[in-house]
């Protein structure tokens, strides 16, 4: 048995990232502590190389390893997004880990390994490959969630995430094995044939599909599988929270969409109902529970749940009975657009939380933001932009994302779902703007002036600049991103 060179070339970006991770782990022990930043720069370099490779091959649609892996525009889009988010996470971590006193270089290795898992997920054309990707993504995340090992909350988050993550993996795996029983293969294309042949009312396929939806529901933090999210997001170190809330969610959505559309595209009526219920439940719960939060990280965790709900609107559009090809394709592209824009604004908001320091700790309580506009004008303004964008107010990118999504919903005849989304977007304005209110309309106490500071370094500045550029530029000039997502969604037409 030989492995064709062409196959290896196809997964070149994955190989580069894994290689970089391994080299990093090897170099770590022999690098003097003062030079550890070089390891971060090295991993960034690897990401940049991958970015160009994936970007250059975006137009291709290549299968490799006997159709286990596919590299198409759809996968490439997610990969580009993932590189970007991982890169920004690494940049932020260079400062953040030092602030927290946990600057161990294997962190970057873990990020890269997790990223590899995500890349495998979005490129997988076979359920087992996707499953492998999920595990490869999750295990480094479990470790990173407990990276503040001297802090009980972080360990707890890690343990919770691990236990629940394993649980969901088990469910997913069970679904995959049932599907294997039904189709005799784990390849998405073979499953699609078998599913079509067995028809709408086959119990085995139905059960397997539900198990898969539950498993992916866990990963994208959709209600009612969201319960781990607030605790874990709050307890984990903030740069890990960013990585989980943005990269892991994007990758999970990428795989989720592919599995549902490629394997179960023939039985849309079967999954559309459950997805619709999950979508509405997520919208309602995420937004309403966020209203009563006083910890920003926890509030943003619920916000990220709510945004998963918005993204699911796109999936409902794709699966809605009578949706034509063009509209369905718009549903897919609107999910992609939504998550891309969501990434920028969530990353930005969490970054502000990460760099706002109170004593040796993170300023993550709402009170820590009191009168921020007086103390740190720039940071407060950026936070304002991120909050406004999360609430979906123009001219920020968050508005474009919601506009495109709800437009697709109305086009598919789901005007009422758009109304539900819009009403809860109105509710969300309440808690996002509360942050703004606290920053701009409250007087800081005397002690706060002294106690809090911003850990602003060149790298964090770059992160914030990228996030804000995404939020503003994509709001004012979203056309390029829209055309990329439209192009990348074509495989599902």
């Amino acid at each position: 048995m030989t492995i064709p060179l062409a196959d290896l070339v196809t997964i070149l970006p994955e190989m580069i990232v894994v290689f970089a991770a391994c080299v990093l782990l090897v170099l770590d022990p022999i690098t003097p502590p003062s030079k550890k930043d070089w390891l971060a720069w090295m991993s960034l370099g690897a990401l940049v190389v991958c970015f160009f490779i994936t970007g250059a091959t975006m137009n291709d649609r290549v299968f490799a390893f006997s159709d286990l892996v596919v590299v198409d525009a759809y996968a490439s889009f997610w990969k580009l997004l993932l590189y970007l988010v991982s890169g920004l996470t690494i940049l932020l971590s260079m400062t953040y880990l030092k602030e927290e006193g946990i600057d161990l270089a294997e962190f970057y290795g873990l990020i890269l390994l997790s990223l590899t898992g995500m890349m495998v997920m979005v490129s997988g054309a076979d359920l087992l490959v996707i499953y492998l990707g999920i595990e490869l993504m999750s295990i480094p995340l479990y470790i990173m969630a407990g990276f503040k090992r001297f802090e009980a909350r972080s360990i707890e988050a890690s343990a919770k995430y691990f236990i629940l993550g394993s649980f969901s993996s088990g469910i997913l795996l069970y679904g995959i094995s049932l599907l294997y029983g039904a189709a005799g293969s784990t390849r998405l294309a073979d499953i699609a044939v078998a599913v079509d042949a067995r028809g709408l009312e086959d119990p085995l396929v139905l059960i397997a599909m539900m198990l898969l939806i539950v498993g992916f529901g866990f990963k994208v933090a959709a209600v009612p599988f969201h319960m781990w999210t607030p605790d874990v997001y709050q307890g984990a170190p903030t740069s890990v929270t960013i990585f989980m809330a943005v990269a892991s969610k994007a990758a999970s959505f990428g795989a989720f969409l592919r599995v549902l559309l490629e394997a179960f595209g023939g039985v849309k009526p079967n999954w559309n109902g459950p997805i619709l219920v999950i979508c509405i439940g997520t919208l309602v719960l995420g937004n309403i529970v966020a209203v009563v939060q006083t910890n920003i990280k926890r509030m943003l965790a619920y916000s990220s749940i709510a945004h998963a709900g918005y993204a699911l609107v796109g999936l409902v559009v794709v699966g809605w009975a009578g949706t034509e090809g063009a509209v369905a394709s718009r549903g897919v592209s609107s999910v992609m657009l939504y998550l891309a824009i969501y990434s920028f604004m969530t990353l930005g908001a969490f970054s502000i939380v990460a760099i706002l320091r109170r004593g040796g700790l993170e300023g993550e309580e709402l009170e820590d933001f009191t009168g921020l506009s007086k103390r740190h004008k720039g940071a407060a303004f950026l936070m304002l932009l991120f909050m406004v964008s999360l609430a979906g107010i123009p001219p920020t990118a968050g508005f474009i994302a919601k506009l495109y999504l709800f437009m697709a919903a109305v086009d598919a005849g789901l005007a009422w779902l758009a109304v539900v989304g819009l009403v809860f977007a109105a509710v969300s304005a309440f808690f996002y703007l509360r942050v703004v209110m606290v920053m701009y309309m409250r007087e800081p106490s005397a002690t706060q002036e002294i106690e809090t500071r911003l850990a602003l370094t060149p790298t964090t500045t770059v992160v914030l600049a990228c996030a804000v550029a995404g939020v503003v530029l994509l709001g004012i000039y979203p056309s390029p991103l829209i055309s990329v997502t439209t192009f990348a969604a074509i495989p599902f037409r």
């Binding site: 770590d28 781990w228 004008k377 109305v410």
Partner: protein, 660 residues
Amino acid sequence: MSDLLVILIPVFPLLAVLLNGLLGHRYSPALAGQIGCGSVGLSFLCSLVVLGEMVSTGTTREVIAYTWIFGGDLNVNLGFLIDPLTTVMLLVVTGVGFLIHVYSVGYMHGEEGYTRFFTYMNLFTVSMLLLVMGNNYLVLFIGWEGVGLCSYLLIGYYFDRISAAKAATKAFVVNRIGDAGFLLAIFLVFVNFKSLDYTIVFSQVDQLSTEMATAIAFCLLIGAIGKSAQIPLYIWLPDAMEGPTPVSALIHAATMVTAGVYMVVRNHVLFDMAPVALITVGWIGGVTALFAATIGLVQNDIKRVLAYSTVSQLGYMFLACGVGAYIAAIFHLVTHAFFKALLFLSAGSVIHAVGGEQDIRKMGGLWSKIPRTHGVFLVGTLAIAGIPPLAGFWSKDEIMAHAFVNGEYGLYLMAAIGALLTAFYMFRLTYLIFYGQSRVDPKVEHHIHESPPMMTVPLIVLAFLAIVGGFLGVPPEHGWIHGFLAGVATPAGAEVHEVSFGLLVGLMGIAILIAVSGWGVAHYLYSARPRAAEDWAARAPGAYGTLLNKYYVDELYDWMFVEPCKRLGRIWDWVDSNIIDRMVRAVGRMVDLGSAGSTWFEKHVIYGAANVIGFGNHLVAWSWRKLQSGMVHHYAAMIVVGLFLLVHFLLIWLTGKSVL
């Protein structure tokens, strides 16, 4: 050349925002104020040129700045539509806006965050200009949300007031509900027309079914209700008075709150197709006009009275739209901008004079101490009360006449009663502030002073406009404004009611009678018989209390929407934070049990075997000691290296050749 001029109108204030926002801390607040005012002044000059061209050539044109969104079938430009309606709105926004900016220089003098204030004000102006200039729904919506955001920031301008922050949030969230309706209307328009440009939509509007037109019109109406503070979404506007007074004048009286009226008039083609929606507009307006006026009767905060008056006057504009009198609606919008801005600003001057006091029970007898403010306030009162020949008379009379002539006698009656109440509460306000015994706190008494010229000059200009502004629409139905707007705001397919001269004069006479009797009652209660008002209130405590508490609507909404929402949130929050813990604990307990078992196994079975191997190992171990540094990640590195080697050998074994 003139395309550039159009684009420059919003660009000037935008530049001021960037300059003051980014560099404002580098120079003195005074310069920031000048930049802020100057930019709006320049926009005003450009608007005047646009008006000149519009009057001389009369052509509508579109100016495209750039393509904003394209992708699939969605194509949206950032473009401007310059037609007579836009031109009128431009002049109101930049003209009145400029005067209010100038006034603010004096009013906000010495306030903390002076630069910030002007940055927000200019940002507001930019958004408002986008709103009225946009050539498609999306640009309108951008402006729509932008003004909402600025309004939010400016209501909460005073840091030290918790109530201000609450009012700001309330305003924003209530507006978001309206915005949801508006956005839905935009989606529906797009689905039906595949375009969001006004020109395309309005030219193809006859393809629409009546049902769809009604649906779109109702969604638009929800948006308009939110922004223009009509029933049932009016509750945010009175609370919004927590902001500085120039903000109330600019945003919550003259410009932003009239955006709903502008939007309805702009979309009148759609409303004309949907008679049900149109008459709903009329009734919402009529009921609001009356309802808000009744609350205004008994309020004791000078700005709150004016706020309810604004809600009521906006109701008149909606009423006008509802009976197809779009030109009358815009006419009233313009005159209202003059006299309401005047009233708010002179109220600000009063508040300024008495050291920040807003309770009219603690004023009185001020006319001799602040004569100029008194004069302009009186002009404003006369104008809004509908005393001829001031501005309010002409526009309000025209609205009422339209309601009557169109056979909407119910609406006419509500408007008439509303007008009576308006005259009453405005003169009540005037009497309580300026005449009678002084009830001012003695400590404040000797500090009372007239405002500086920076504030009084804009007041005098506005007073002049409030006096002569009505002549834009004289003679009724055939004034300048009617001719100017005829092309853009005439209802489609409306039958022209020939109004006899006698009827017209008769209606005018009734209107004058109403205004004067309102004045008379106020004079009786608050000037001639000063104790009478208390007696009336004491005689009907239930009614008085209900009015004073604004019909308990806020409490009702809290009970119906806000509290349930919060309670639900708390319950779910509890579930989320407790259920998971329990699950984890249960798993932990199982793991404990399992590990107890495996510990026993390890101790007695594995270690036994390991001890044997361990001895052998011990011999080799010394050589590894250098590598065993005790750090887990170093082990990880070793595992990776090992993994590589293993894979390498495995591949050689399987394939017979090396991949390295």
